[in-house]
């Protein structure tokens, strides 16, 4: 670490004037111990390899930050982060003013050089970069052509074609900024991938894959010194062990609780449960190449047969909701008002099946064993709904995703969830169900008009036209040629010792910076 006079002074000064936030322990212990189900699915800490919302999103923004941030304590709208302002120079160029005086974890000042390295050779492309990482980066920034610094504190992103989603992409996973100098000092991409150096409120102290992630306070943090001296994430796979550890005082926070666990814990006077909706929808996806699902009427009938609200009420204790289709309110102007998922209407479903000529053919439904919260219970409820309208659906519980997605054997319906990684339909409907999305590349579903609309939408800069396109896409994917059924929005719950003035975010992120504490 380069310890500059500025770093030393700021660290010393701010650490004496730390905000007094009680963590619920009388001995003044300023270490936050958090039990999570998973720290990293890929055993790495780099956002271009570690892509899981339910694992790395918990801590990633504590270490690495984006140029454009999200308001984690409101509606996830874009806010200045490492860039203080941004503007369009022309249809292909986005110019950003970088925040000055930001001290990185290695003691250097953040400049445009770090942005160049974050999107440059050795980081996202080049012979030393794993091929899948380059492919992931291309998926995140498909139109990015080059970066052009305009000075120490300014940079331009130049795209190969107009891309109105660039600001959103820069605020999402994959757009995090790393220290150029620290990155170049390490020999390999793999070595960097387990030792990220960024600008966040906490710096990496130790990472033991599958065991713990230790973060130390970065007192020179640009948005105020973090209130905790240290945050330790412990990987505790079993929910019962996380809860027991919380109650025993081994952890101050326990994450990844199911709704019933959250309800039970909320009765404990020493514990406070927070959480709520996150930008992720539980869906079932169709394989329309499999008869009888080649008939869109059968798929729509399956949607009309399901009462999502009953699932929300019975399995989520009303703490989730049936969302307005595959969209989220933080889309802002792109949100389609008054759009609804197909209503629960068993008589209509029966009529549709009759007109489709459905004759009791078996439909395979592949699910995993509670990869998603209450997944098996949800599957059982769905089976019963479908049985009631005369559908013959057979549930297959699979051990892994490869078994769910395999093309061997008949495919019909499968469990899935879709996230919105940034505030535009391109991040969800286009990314997941468009021509390059997993559902189409896996050969489950395709629609020529949808694919044409996806191409147009990615290139269009006209918001009115884009909203019309998005409405039409919803019409295709949820009514005319159903690609999926939206069941409910997902919610996450975090329990912590009562008395800690911490606020949860409308996402998977656990914000332990000053912003995350109410006093």
């Amino acid at each position: 670490m380069n310890l500059t006079r500025r770093t030393a002074l700021s660290t010393g000064l701010v650490s004496t004037a730390l905000p007094r936030i009680a963590f619920g322990q009388a001995n003044g212990d300023r270490v936050i111990r958090v039990a999570v189900q998973k720290i990293s699915n890929t055993l790495t800490l780099d956002p271009l390899r570690e892509q899981s919302s339910n694992a790395s999103e918990r801590w990633m923004a504590s270490i690495l930050e984006n140029l454009i941030g999200r308001n984690q304590h409101s509606g996830l709208e874009r806010v200045p982060a490492l860039a203080t302002a941004w503007r369009r120079i022309d249809a292909l160029t986005l110019e950003l003013d970088l925040r000055q005086g930001v001290i990185m974890h290695d003691g250097r000042e953040f400049t445009s050089e770090d942005v160049l390295q974050s999107f440059g050779e050795g980081r996202i492309f080049g012979p030393s970069v794993p091929k899948d990482v380059t492919a992931i980066a291309q998926r995140h920034f498909p139109t990015l052509e080059r970066l052009q610094p305009t000075g120490r504190y300014g940079i331009r992103f130049i795209t190969s074609k107009p891309d109105v989603t660039l600001e959103g992409r820069l605020s999402a996973g994959g757009g995090e900024i790393i220290s150029a100098q620290s990155w170049r000092q390490r020999q390999t991409w793999q070595a960097n991938s387990i030792a990220p150096v960024g600008t966040g409120p906490y710096r990496l102290a130790e990472f033991v894959p599958g065991v713990r992630l230790v973060l130390d306070a970065h007192y020179a943090y640009w948005d105020g010194p973090p209130p905790a001296q240290q945050v330790i994430f412990f990987e505790v796979p079993e929910a019962a062990s996380r809860i027991a550890g919380l109650r025993a005082g081994d952890f101050k926070f326990a994450c990844d609780l199911t709704p019933d666990q959250a309800i039970a814990l909320a009765r404990d006077p020493k514990v406070q449960v927070q959480g709520g909706l996150v930008p992720n929808h539980r869906i079932v996806a169709f394989d329309k190449t499999h008869p009888p699902l080649d008939n869109p009427k059968v798929r729509l009938a399956m949607a009309h047969a399901v009462d999502g609200q009953a699932i929300v009420d019975s399995l989520w204790a009303g703490k989730s909701r049936v969302p307005p289709g595959m969209q989220w309110e933080f889309y802002g102007p792109m949100f389609v008002p008054r759009w609804r998922v197909p209503e629960y209407n068993p008589p209509l479903a029966r009529t549709m099946l009759l007109s489709a000529g459905y004759n009791g053919e078996e439909i395979i439904y592949r699910a995993r064993h509670n990869y998603y919260p209450a997944e098996v219970s949800t599957a059982q409820i769905l089976l019963e709904y479908w049985r009631q309208v005369g559908l013959n659906v057979k549930l297959e519980i699979c051990e892994n995703w490869a078994q769910v997605l395999t093309k061997h054997g008949p495919r019909g319906v499968r469990d899935w969830s879709n996230s919105a990684t940034f505030d535009d339909p391109v991040s969800s409907l286009v990314a997941q169900h468009g021509p390059h999305g997993a559902q189409q590349t896996n050969g489950e579903w395709s629609n020529a008009e949808m694919n044409a609309l996806c191409v147009q939408m990615e290139a269009s800069t006209d918001f009115t036209a884009r909203q019309a396109m998005f409405r039409r896409m919803l019409q295709i994917c949820e009514r005319e040629d159903p690609a999926y059924i939206v069941l409910h929005q997902n919610a996450v719950f975090t329990a912590h010792h009562r008395g800690i003035p911490w606020r949860s975010s409308p996402s998977f992120f656990l914000d332990f910076s000053l912003r995350g504490f109410s006093s």
Binding site: A135, I136, V236, A244, R247, T406, A438, T441
Partner: protein, 307 residues
């Protein structure tokens, strides 16, 4: 004797090779490792890039051939997740596993053998029934149930011990007791059977008839003969040291080989899974080999019977 040992050694090596082959085939045919590692959102180009990076685009027999060739040179490959060499990664996790597995083994032996002897000596008494009821309970209750109960009592209610994964003496206790109690039941039952088997032998009656005390009969005539029956059971317990802690490690978030195995299997991190399972199989094979040799040394009829 040397021929006996050589033959057993060849059998042990073949066993390990068979396990390696089985694991290599089973892991590859139970699902595309690229899809498992990258999840349901991964697009075709990303999956293809991952397969190329890790040689998964080759036919399965070719993948296995290349892997075996490398393994014979001591190269188990690198983790597909973070690029770490599999063998050092796995060896790094062996010590934490042994930290709980060895004390648990001692606990099994220290509890199970005396309890079995006591039950056999007091056969059909209330002591025998009590010990055997405890042994059956230990056998019937899975170690994670014992673990959860211990956590509830000693961590949540009493607050005496940490609930999980602490690398200190207090943190060792609950995982060790969870593992040890279940195994002690098995050991007690086998010990009781072995002792009763020897107690009914004519030479034991003869020893008692010539006026030896019960203590001396047990020490000189019963226990040495019962050990021969117990050796294979102890061998299995030692062989299972590395592979037998998976559930308890997961429950207590213990950073050992079992936890690593669960993560690696879930991610289909082939080099790591294969390395762990080959190491576990080798431990079991070596343990059995040692016990076979010990058994043969103790009872030379075994060698003569075979050869």
């Amino acid at each position: 004797m040397m021929r006996f040992i050589a033959w057993r050694l060849i059998r042990a090596i073949l066993t390990v090779l068979a396990v390696a082959l089985f694991v290599a085939v089973a892991l590859r045919i139970s699902g595309d490792p690229a899809v498992i590692a990258l999840g349901p959102d991964a697009t075709a180009p990303v999956l293809q890039a991952f397969r190329e990076q890790h040689g998964l685009n080759r036919p399965i027999p070719m993948q296995i051939l290349v892997q075996f060739q490398a393994m014979l040179h001591g190269d188990f490959g690198a983790s597909m997740m973070d690029g770490t060499q599999a063998l050092p990664l796995v060896l790094h996790h062996v010590m934490p596993t042994l930290e709980i597995a060895l004390p648990a083994l001692l606990l099994k032996l220290a509890l199970g053998i005396p309890a079995g002897i006591l039950a056999a000596v007091r056969r059909n008494s209330w002591i025998d029934r009590l010990v055997m009821a405890g042994a059956v309970l230990g056998l019937a209750l899975p170690n994670f149930v014992i673990g959860v109960a211990l956590v509830l009592v000693f961590a949540v209610k009493l607050g005496w011990l940490p609930s999980s994964g602490h690398p200190n003496f207090a943190g060792l206790l609950l995982p060790v007791i969870s593992l040890g109690l279940a195994g002690a039941g098995v050991m007690a039952r086998f010990t009781r059977s072995a002792i009763i088997g020897v107690l009914t032998q004519p030479h034991v009656r003869a020893a008692a008839a010539k006026g030896l005390s019960r203590y001396k009969v047990m020490l000189r005539h019963v226990l040495p003969n019962a050990v021969a029956t117990l050796l294979p059971v102890i061998g299995l317990a030692i062989g299972g040291l590395l592979a037998g802690t998976v559930v308890v490690e997961t429950l207590f978030s213990w950073p050992g080989l079992g936890s690593l195995l669960v993560v690696a299997v879930a991610n289909r991190d082939l080099p790591v899974v294969e390395c762990i399972l080959i190491l576990s199989a080798a431990t079991m094979a070596v343990s059995n080999l040692v016990m076979d040799v010990a058994h043969a040394w103790r009872d030379p009829r075994i060698v003569r019977g075979r050869h």
